[in-house]
C-alpha cells in the first residue's frame, strides 16, 4: 500500500509514468471562507487574516488504481488582508494567494463508475502576496502591519467531494477543501510585543469541469 501511495505521489508531482491510465485535466473555481486569526498583545487582541473571496484554478490528475488517484492543482485565491479590533478597522489591504498542492484522492467507487465520491488529502505551498499600499500610522499598527511583500507557507489540505462523468470524456465535480497553513508573519507582521499564532484555515467550496481520456 505504501508503495502504491509513493507511486501516486510521484505521479502527482508530475513525474511521467510509463503506464497507461485515465487522465484528467480541468478547471475549478469557487469561494473560500477563512476564519480570522488572533493577534495578541498583552491582554488585548485584534482579528486578522484573509478576507473571504473567490478562487479559480486548474488541476490535472490520473486514476492510477481503481480507488486511488493523484492530482496536482494550482489555485489563485482573491484574499485581501484584514485587521480589526472592536469598531476599529485597518483599511482594506490588497492581497492574493497562489496555492500549489499535490493530493491523493481516495474514491468510494472504482474506476469506471459515473458517480465517484472521494476524499482528498495532500500538501504543497501557499505564496501569500500583499500588494496593498503601505502607510505610516496604519490603524491597529500596534498589533500588526499589513505589508506589501510575499511569503511562502507550507500547506496541507484535506477535503471531500464527488465526481460525475456526465458525458463521455467530460467530468463535473463538487468538492470542499481546507487549505491549512501556519499563520503568516511577513505579509501580516505582528508588531513588536504582539504575537500571531495558530493556523490559517482556508475552507473552499469549489466546482470543476474536466476532460478525461
Amino acid at each position: 500500500m505504501l508503495k502504491k501511495l509513493a507511486l501516486t505521489a510521484l505521479l502527482a508531482a508530475g513525474v511521467a509514468s510509463a503506464q497507461v491510465h485515465e487522465w484528467e485535466v480541468g478547471a475549478i473555481g469557487g469561494y473560500g471562507y477563512a476564519p480570522h486569526l488572533t493577534v495578541s498583545k498583552g491582554s488585548t487582541s485584534a482579528d486578522t487574516g484573509i478576507r473571504h473571496g473567490g478562487i479559480v484554478g486548474v488541476f490535472a490528475g490520473e486514476d492510477m488504481y481503481d480507488y486511488w488517484s493523484g492530482e496536482i492543482r494550482y489555485l489563485y485565491r482573491f484574499d485581501d488582508l484584514k485587521l480589526s479590533s472592536g469598531s476599529i478597522k485597518a483599511p482594506n489591504f490588497s492581497a492574493h494567494t497562489h496555492i500549489v498542492t499535490a493530493d491523493f484522492l481516495g474514491h468510494f467507487r472504482p474506476r469506471g463508475s459515473r458517480m465517484r465520491p472521494f476524499i482528498a488529502f495532500g500538501g504543497g505551498a501557499k505564496i501569500m502576496v500583499g500588494s496593498g499600499i503601505e502607510s505610516a500610522g496604519q490603524p491597529l499598527g500596534n498589533y500588526a502591519a499589513l505589508t506589501a511583500t510575499h511569503e511562502i507557507l507550507p500547506t496541507a489540505d484535506v477535503g471531500a467531494g464527488i465526481k460525475w462523468d456526465f458525458k463521455k470524456n467530460l467530468r463535473f465535480r463538487v468538492e470542499a477543501r481546507d487549505y491549512i497553513s501556519p499563520a503568516p508573519n511577513k505579509v501580516i507582521a505582528p508588531a513588536p510585543g504582539a504575537s500571531l499564532g495558530g493556523v490559517l484555515n482556508d475552507i473552499q467550496g469549489m466546482v470543476g469541469f474536466s476532460l478525461t481520456w
Binding site: 503601505e134 502607510s135 505610516a136 500610522g137 499598527g141 510575499h150 508588531a191
Partner: protein, 779 residues
C-alpha cells in the same frame, strides 16, 4: 478722466489726482484700455521736473513714476495698437512708447528694489553687525546702472556697494550699537537712482530696531503707510489701511499673515465695521465714495456716495453711522450763528448708500472740521466726536441725538476713543460721560497714540519719539490712574511720524488723531500699529517675570544631548521667557516672547520660547564649551556651559501619521510617508532623512535664515548611512532649502539589505552617530 478727476456716470467723483496744480494748460493724461492703466502728467508746481505717473484706472493708485523730457501741455492720445502715447508738449509732440512700459512684457529699463522694507533687528543680546540684502533689478529684464544713497550724515549703515548694474544682490550692514540708544526703530530711506532707467524708483525703507530686553512685543513688518487699524470682533482678523497703495490689508491674528487685501478709493483714511459685523466701510480722502466691503467674501459692495465732499473718519453705532467729511460744496441749508456752515458732519444711510448732513447736531451747530475724528464706544451705544480744536461731542444712540458738546482743552490730538460707555480718552484727557475732564493721564512717556479696553481695564499707548520705545499701560477705570506701564519694542505711530514728505502723487492725509490699538477677537492679543508695521503683545503683557535659570541644552531633533554648529537646540530651564511665543517668518528673530539667548556672546535666532524651553539655532562658528545666557525683562541667567560637538546628527521626531506622533522623519519617497512599522523600508527605496546637527555646509548657510536653494548648501563632511550591515549610498546631504538648521540626507536602499522587524539605521558623521531602529522587508 476729466482734468485730474476720475469720474463715473452720475457724475460721481471716483478719485482725483492728489496734489495736481489744477492748471489745465499743464499736464495731460491718456487711458490705456488694453493694460487698464492711466498715464498721467499732473504737475504739482509750475516748472517742476516733468514726471508721468502710471496709475490704476479704478482708484489712481500710483504704480510707477516715469521721467519725461518735457511737461505735457495738451491733448494726449494712445495709438490704436495701445503701444504709443502721443502728447502735445511744451516743445512740440511727445512720443511715449508705452508698450515698453508694460508691467509684464515691457522692455524699457526700469530699476526697482524687490523689497519695500529691509528689517534689521538688534536687541539686548544682539549687538553684532546685522547683514541684510536688497535686490535691485531691471523690470525690463536688462542690465542697467543704478546708484544707492543714504541721507547725508547717516552713520551705522554700510552699503556693500553704492552703485552697480542690475540685477544686484546688495549687502547692507547695520551696526546696532550706533542705534542702541534709540531703544526703538529708526527708519532710514535708501534712495535708488539710475541714469539709464526711465523710471524714478521708489526708495527702500531700512527699518532698524534696537529694542532693550525689557521692551515687550513681537514685531511684524508691514511695509507702507498704515494709518488705521480695526479688529474684527468675531473673526480672527485685523484690518489695516495702507494709504499709499489704497488698500485694506487683512491679517489673520493667529498667524499674523496677510490673508486678503481689498482695493479702496484713493487715499483711504479710516475704517468702520457695520453693526451686523458684515461690512467694512472705508472713508477715502480723494474720492466722493466711501468703499464698502463684504467681510465674508472680501468683495467690494455698492459704495456710499458723499455728493458734497470726501469722507474721512467714519464710525458705526447702534442706529447711526457718522462720517467727517472734507466738504467741497457745502449744503446751503446749514446755518449757525456765525453764518453758513462750510464743513458739517454727515450721517450715512447705509441702505441707500448715501450720506447727508443734518441741519444741526441736536442742539449744537453742525460745524465739524474735516480733521476731526469719530469713535464709538465698545457697546456702540455712544459716539465720540473729537476735534483738533479741543472740542468734543457725544451722540447717544438711545435718544438718537447729539447730547453733549464741550471744549475741555484748547487743542487735541493723539489717541481718541472710549474705554467704555462712561469714559473716553482724547489725547491724555480722560473724559466722563458729560465730557468733563475726569483726569489727565501722565505725559512723561510722551504723546498718546492708541486707546482700548481689555479685561475691565483701559489700555493706552504713548511714545516720546518715533524712533524711541513706546509705552503701553493699563488704566484703572475706577481711580483713572495708569499702572503696569511696560516699554514696547518700538514706538506706536503718531500723526507726526505718519506725516512724511509725499512721493509724487501718492495721496497722504494724516489726521491729528491716531487709532493704533486693536484687541483681537479672542481677547488674547493686543495689536499695535507701530513704526515698522505691527507690534503684537500678549494680553498679559504686564505679567510678572522671574530671572531665567538654564538647566540644560539638548538637540531639538531627538532630544539627545549632542548639539553641533548650525544645529537646532532646545534650551531647558525655568523662568526663561515671560510668555510663550513662536516666530513668524524668516529670518528668525533674536528676541521672542521678551527673551533672548546668547551662546559665546552670539545671539541665537529663536524658533519659539516658553517659560521652560527655548528652541533656537546654534551658530555655525562655535564648538567646544561655551557659555549660554538667557535674558528676559527680569534679568540675566547664570551662564550655563554648553558643549558643542563638531557633529551631532539627530533625526527629528516630529512626524505624525494617523494617531501616531513623534515618528522619526525618515520618509520613503515611494509613498512620501514616514517609515514606521506599518510602512517599512523595502529594497530600491529612496529614503529622505530629516535631521539636524550636520554642521557646516558649502556654501555657508545664512545664520537664522532660510538655507539657499541655488546652489544647495551641501554638508562639508558627508555622513555615512548604514542599514543593518548594508551601506546605503548617499545621494544628497545638505540643508533643506528655505529651512533653518534642518538637513536632509537622501539615500538609496540596495537589494541586498536584510529584512527584519528591528534593523538599526545609523547615520555617522565624523566620530558622532545616531541610530534608529526601523523595519526592513525584503523582498
Amino acid at each position: 478722466m476729466t482734468g485730474w478727476v476720475l469720474m463715473s456716470p452720475g457724475p460721481i467723483l471716483l478719485a482725483d489726482v492728489p496734489y495736481a496744480i489744477g492748471n489745465f494748460r499743464l499736464g495731460g493724461h491718456a487711458w490705456d484700455s488694453h493694460r487698464n492703466l492711466l498715464y498721467v502728467d499732473a504737475p504739482v508746481t509750475a516748472g517742476e521736473a516733468p514726471v508721468m505717473h502710471i496709475m490704476d484706472t479704478d482708484n489712481l493708485t500710483v504704480r510707477q513714476r516715469i521721467q519725461l523730457p518735457q511737461t505735457i501741455s495738451g491733448r494726449t492720445v494712445v495709438s490704436s495698437d495701445q503701444g504709443t502715447v502721443y502728447a502735445a508738449s511744451e516743445g512740440g509732440v511727445l512720443v511715449l512708447p508705452v508698450a515698453s512700459l508694460d508691467p509684464v512684457s515691457g522692455k524699457a529699463p526700469r530699476v526697482v528694489a524687490l523689497q519695500e522694507d529691509i528689517v534689521f533687528t538688534g536687541d539686548a543680546c544682539n549687538r553684532q553687525v546685522i547683514p541684510q540684502y536688497v535686490d535691485i533689478v531691471d523690470q525690463g529684464g536688462g542690465n542697467i546702472d543704478f546708484k544707492l544713497s543714504l541721507p547725508s550724515g547717516t552713520t551705522g549703515v554700510r552699503l556693500g556697494q553704492t552703485s552697480g548694474t542690475t540685477p544686484a544682490h546688495v549687502l547692507i550692514n547695520v551696526d546696532p550699537t550706533v542705534f542702541q540708544n534709540a531703544r526703538g526703530t529708526t527708519t532710514i530711506s535708501l534712495s535708488i537712482t539710475s541714469a539709464g532707467a526711465v523710471n524714478l524708483p521708489f526708495p527702500v525703507r531700512l527699518v532698524i530696531n534696537t529694542r532693550d530686553v525689557n521692551q515687550t512685543g513681537k514685531l511684524v513688518n508691514v511695509p507702507g503707510k498704515i494709518v488705521d487699524i480695526v479688529a474684527d470682533r468675531f473673526r480672527s482678523r485685523v484690518y489695516m489701511l495702507r494709504q499709499d497703495k489704497n488698500l485694506v490689508l487683512v491679517y489673520d491674528t493667529n498667524t499674523l499673515k496677510e490673508v486678503a487685501r481689498m482695493r479702496t478709493g484713493n487715499t483711504p483714511v479710516s475704517m468702520a465695521i457695520t453693526d451686523d459685523q458684515r461690512y467694512l466701510i472705508v472713508g477715502n480722502d480723494r474720492s466722493h465714495l466711501a468703499s464698502v466691503f463684504d467681510l465674508e467674501t472680501f468683495q467690494p459692495q455698492a459704495p456710499i456716495l458723499f455728493q458734497d465732499g470726501y469722507p474721512r473718519s467714519i464710525t458705526v453705532a447702534h442706529g447711526g453711522i457718522w462720517a467727517t467729511v472734507r466738504v467741497v460744496t457745502p449744503p446751503d441749508d446749514i446755518v449757525c450763528s456765525a453764518g453758513t456752515v462750510s464743513n458739517p458732519l454727515y450721517r450715512i444711510d447705509f441702505d441707500s448708500r448715501t450720506a447727508n448732513a443734518p441741519r444741526s447736531l441736536g442742539i449744537y451747530c453742525n460745524d465739524v472740521p474735516a480733521d476731526s475724528a469719530l469713535a464709538s464706544t465698545p457697546s456702540e451705544n455712544y459716539v465720540l466726536l473729537a476735534m483738533s480744536s479741543g472740542t468734543v461731542a457725544m451722540w447717544d444712540a438711545a435718544v438718537n441725538t447729539w447730547v453733549v458738546s464741550r471744549t475741555p482743552a484748547t487743542a487735541a490730538g493723539g489717541a481718541y476713543g472710549a474705554f467704555n460707555d462712561n469714559l473716553f480718552l482724547v489725547g491724555n484727557n480722560v473724559l466722563d460721560q458729560s465730557l468733563f475732564a475726569a483726569a489727565t493721564l501722565q505725559s512723561d512717556t510722551g504723546t498718546s497714540s492708541g486707546v482700548g479696553a481689555l479685561g475691565g481695564y483701559g489700555l493706552r499707548t504713548t511714545t516720546l519719539a518715533a524712533s524711541g520705545p513706546g509705552t503701553i499701560e493699563r488704566v484703572d477705570l475706577t481711580t483713572l490712574q495708569p499702572f503696569h506701564g511696560r516699554g514696547i519694542a518700538e514706538a506706536p505711530v503718531l500723526s507726526t511720524s505718519l506725516n512724511t514728505p509725499a512721493i509724487g502723487q501718492i495721496g497722504e492725509t494724516i489726521l491729528p488723531f491716531t487709532r493704533s490699538l486693536a484687541v483681537t477677537a479672542d481677547q488674547q492679543s493686543i495689536i499695535l500699529l507701530t513704526q515698522s508695521g505691527l507690534t503684537v503683545l500678549a494680553s498679559n503683557f504686564d505679567a510678572s517675570t522671574t530671572i531665567p535659570t538654564v538647566t540644560g541644552i539638548v538637540n531639538g531633533a531627538d532630544g539627545g544631548p549632542g548639539i553641533a554648529p548650525g544645529g537646532i537646540a532646545l534650551v531647558q530651564g525655568f523662568g526663561l521667557a515671560p510668555r510663550s511665543e513662536s516666530s513668524v517668518g524668516l529670518p528668525l528673530p533674536s528676541t521672542l516672547g521678551d527673551a533672548c539667548v546668547t551662546v559665546g556672546n552670539i545671539a541665537l535666532p529663536l524658533f519659539r520660547v516658553s517659560a521652560t524651553e527655548i528652541l533656537a539655532q546654534l551658530p555655525f562658528s562655535l564648538t567646544g564649551d561655551v557659555p549660554l545666557v538667557v535674558r528676559n525683562p527680569a534679568g540675566v541667567s547664570n551662564p550655563f556651559t554648553a558643549h558643542i560637538q563638531s557633529f551631532a546628527p539627530a533625526i527629528f521626531r516630529s512626524g505624525q501619521a494617523g494617531d501616531q506622533t513623534g515618528l522619526a522623519t525618515v520618509i520613503r519617497q515611494k509613498n512620501a510617508d514616514f517609515v514606521d512599522f506599518t510602512n517599512p523600508i523595502h529594497p530600491e527605496d529612496v529614503l529622505s532623512i530629516y535631521l539636524t546637527g550636520l554642521s557646516q555646509t558649502s556654501p555657508a548657510a545664512p545664520f537664522g535664515d532660510g538655507a539657499p536653494s541655488d546652489p544647495l548648501a551641501i554638508t562639508s563632511t558627508t555622513p555615512t548611512v548604514t542599514l543593518g550591515s548594508s551601506n546605503l549610498p548617499v545621494m544628497f546631504s545638505g540643508l533643506v532649502p528655505g529651512e533653518v538648521g534642518v538637513y536632509i540626507i537622501n539615500v538609496f536602499v540596495p537589494h541586498g539589505v536584510a529584512g527584519a522587524s528591528q534593523t538599526p539605521l545609523t547615520i555617522k558623521q565624523g566620530d558622532f552617530s545616531t541610530t534608529l531602529q526601523v523595519r526592513v522587508v525584503n523582498p
